[in-house]
């Protein structure tokens, strides 16, 4: 029998974009909240961006973004199949979750993204609308200190952004020139990166290397945004606490969370409400591992949908080399601007749904030499070609909406286990024909834009990749037979269990998910608080 800790109001599993927001919101209103985080605090100064070998972390070592290559004690193994590679699954386990390593692009979904079935006849509608999330998007934006500009005709009107848009830099201006020439839509991006001092944090000073850690704390990882406030509000954040199982009582209600502490002890944290925010892979892994007499197929899984419909945002990358110097590595790592020219469905293009075009550049000299599209040749021609590309390269990534498919899924691996003996996650993912057609269209569009911008040479990877956003594996829906959680992120099968992260997405849209994850988390917290009389 594992020791049980005193019952609290709410136990949250995971401290990333969702867990931090839920914990802050509930504690702010007086709930007693414990958060279990399997990793530790990470000082931004200790991250690779402060080191000269920062680019090596793209491929190996304890700071790489890919847990299967990183293999820290707090990571769990992820077995991939269906063509997915280990370096196509990205997450971070520590306070702040994957926001510690993200680039900070912060777009919102469009209204039509919530009505995919009724507008386009594919996938499913969400049980909520854009308008249901709008005020939570706004609230989350204020916590994050989003930089950007209201007034984009490709998105619904929104409140003035808390901080002004980030500079475009030479690379952004070059790409904007291409969009202008073609008469296409573009707009400065909403970014979770401060463009000026805000809420006790400093504005960005354009060091770059954002996803390798922001020592200035201008990038809004939740360890520097929500967590200081949540802890002041009384949340007990327990690090090195790896959730093993959600326990249930004889009535089938969640009783708490069984977890391992750093010394390997197994402890049960009792709670009136359990909120799982462990990301689109960690969440289904935990639910599937929480088997019991009442829930033999895993918790909240009467629909059989837990782990299914994994979506990751398929991508293609197209790169242009310009005659003039555009310093693609200067400024924020990703995305000073974006285009939603091809976002909404137009079936004459040969696919349903759409994609975003987002702007990137090489992170540094080593990334340039390794080549996002094609390496700089070795040998005699090396320096000549490096000089031609370095400082002259900018890329456009196509971010496509992948539709939910039951065969793209997360399961428990039969053999591999983490250091606590919990089965590894096995992730299967394959590109659909619709996704491949969309990427092909997007790659042509990106090429067109770069050529219009004046690129002397344009190269395309030619191969699909993924953005490694983790979505869809505990989907939201109105029908308990076809979904895992309801419109308030409450599990259909377990009334005091909530799933609040990318896994609850019904569909993926074609924008980065974190803004929507944060908004859903704040909304779910409202729902949990409003239902507190039922906590018992």
């Amino acid at each position: 029998m594992s020791p049980a800790l005193e019952r609290v109001d709410v136990v949250v599993v995971g401290s990333g974009a969702a867990g931090a927001a839920v914990a802050w919101s509930l504690a702010d209103r007086g709930a007693k909240v414990v958060c279990l985080e399997q990793g530790d605090w990470v000082r931004p100064e200790s991250m690779p961006s402060s080191r000269t070998d920062f680019e090596v972390s793209q491929r190996r070592g304890p700071d790489t973004l890919f847990p299967s290559l990183r293999k820290r004690p707090e990571d769990y193994p992820i077995v991939t199949e269906g063509g997915l590679r280990p370096d196509q699954v990205l997450m971070f386990n520590g306070v702040g979750g994957t926001t510690v390593h993200w680039e900070g692009h912060f777009p919102r979904m469009h209204p039509s993204d919530f009505r995919v079935r009724s507008r386009d006849g594919v996938a499913d509608d969400w049980p909520i609308r854009y308008e249901d999330l709008e005020r939570y998007y706004d609230l989350n934006d204020r916590h994050i200190g989003v930089s950007g500009l209201a007034g984009d005709p490709a998105n619904p009107p929104r409140a003035p952004r808390p901080t002004p848009p980030l500079p475009l830099g030479a690379r952004g201006r070059a790409v904007a020139r291409g969009f202008e020439k073609l008469g296409w839509h573009w707009w400065p991006s909403d970014n979770a990166i401060l463009s000026r001092d805000y809420d006790g944090r400093k504005g960005c000073d354009f060091r770059g290397r954002c996803n390798f850690g922001c020592a200035r704390r201008a990038k809004a990882s939740t360890d520097v945004t929500y967590w200081p406030k949540a802890i002041r509000g009384g949340v007990l954040l327990r690090t090195w606490a790896r959730a093993r199982e959600i326990t249930v009582d004889e009535r089938g209600r969640a009783r708490g969370v069984l977890y391992h502490d750093r010394s390997g002890r197994t402890i049960e944290q009792l709670a009136r409400v359990v909120v799982v925010c462990a990301n689109g892979i960690g969440t289904p892994r935990l639910l599937l591992h929480s088997r019991s007499r009442l829930f033999p197929d895993g918790l909240a899984n009467s629909s059989g949908q837990v782990g299914r419909n994994y979506m990751a945002h398929p991508s293609r990358y197209v790169e242009g080399v310009f005659p003039e110097r555009i310093d693609g590595h200067v400024g924020v790592t990703s995305n000073p601007l974006f285009s939603h020219q091809f976002y909404e469905t137009d079936t004459s293009r040969g696919f349903v749904r759409g994609y975003s075009l987002v702007v990137y550049g090489p992170m540094g000299p080593l990334s340039q030499a390794w080549g996002d599209v094609e390496p700089v040749p070795w040998g005699e021609a090396h320096h000549r070609e490096m000089r031609r590309r370095w400082g002259h390269t900018v890329g456009i990534a196509v971010m496509a909406e992948d539709l939910p498919e039951e065969t793209n899924r997360v399961t428990l691996d039969a053999e591999a286990k983490d250091s606590s003996g919990i089965p590894a996650a096995r992730v299967r993912y394959a590109f659909s024909e619709n996704s491949l057609r969309m990427l092909e269209h997007g790659a042509r569009a990106a090429r067109q834009a770069l050529e219009a911008a004046g690129a002397a040479q344009v190269r395309d990877t030619g191969a699909p990749n993924v953005f490694a956003h983790l979505m869809g594996t505990a989907r939201m829906g109105g029908d308990p037979r076809r979904s895992v959680v309801d419109a308030w992120n409450r599990a259909h099968d377990v009334p005091n269990l909530f799933v609040v992260d990318g896994s609850s997405f019904t569909t993926a849209a074609a924008v980065n998910p974190t803004s929507t994850i944060g908004a859903l988390a704040l909304r779910a917290a409202d729902g949990i608080w409003e239902g507190r009389r039922d906590w018992i």
Binding site: P111, G151, P153, R207, G379, W390
Partner: protein, 185 residues
């Protein structure tokens, strides 16, 4: 002394090779391994390999001059994936050199070394790519190379370059576009 001052100081020296050990310490605080990761013959092969992957040209030094072999030896001592990639490369190079019945790789004339590496690239693409990328890594994590290339690494105590604020006038055309998102009843 901040990083920029340090780089300026070091950059005044034309003696790349002599400066390399000091620079390695900038990005690589790990202690030097007690036991060398490479045998002397392997180190010689690695230096020759580095010299051909990134030769001196266009005013830039070669990877060998910049201490690539020493960097990779330290990396191999710390990281088995590096050690394994180097072992694979050495095995391939040795096999191919032996097949030629000529001298060791390092003693081959440069055109013969290049031809051997081109054959390796063609026949064992993954193995070659891994070795090539490690030489690139050794070279392009070296601040002296950055200085020559015009890359200004902004360290934790420095600010990045000033950038012009966003100009809203650039959006004049886009602002006038009709609504692009679909309304949902």
């Amino acid at each position: 002394m901040n990083r920029k001052e340090f780089l300026t100081l070091v950059g005044r020296s034309a003696l790349f090779a002599a400066a390399a050990p000091a620079l390695e310490a900038v990005g690589d605080a790990a202690p030097r391994p007690a036991k060398p990761a490479l045998a002397p013959a392997q180190r010689t092969t690695l230096e020759a390999l580095a010299a051909e992957i990134i030769p001196a040209a266009e005013g830039m030094p070669s990877a060998a001059e910049m201490g690539a072999a020493a960097y990779l030896e330290r990396a191999a001592a710390r990281d088995e994936t590096v050690a394994s990639a180097l072992r694979d490369a050495f095995a391939s190079i040795e096999k191919r050199t032996r097949a030629r019945q000529g001298p060791d790789f390092a003693r081959l004339p440069a055109p013969a070394r290049v031809a051997l590496l081109q054959a390796m690239e063609k026949d064992e693409a993954d193995r070659f790519r891994a070795a090539r990328d490690l030489v690139y890594e050794a070279y392009y994590t070296n601040p002296l190379v950055w200085q020559r290339l015009g890359y200004d690494f902004i360290g934790p105590d420095s600010s990045g370059p000033p950038l012009e604020p966003f100009e809203e006038a650039l959006l004049e055309r886009v602002r006038a576009l009709p609504r692009l998102y679909r309304a949902v009843p």
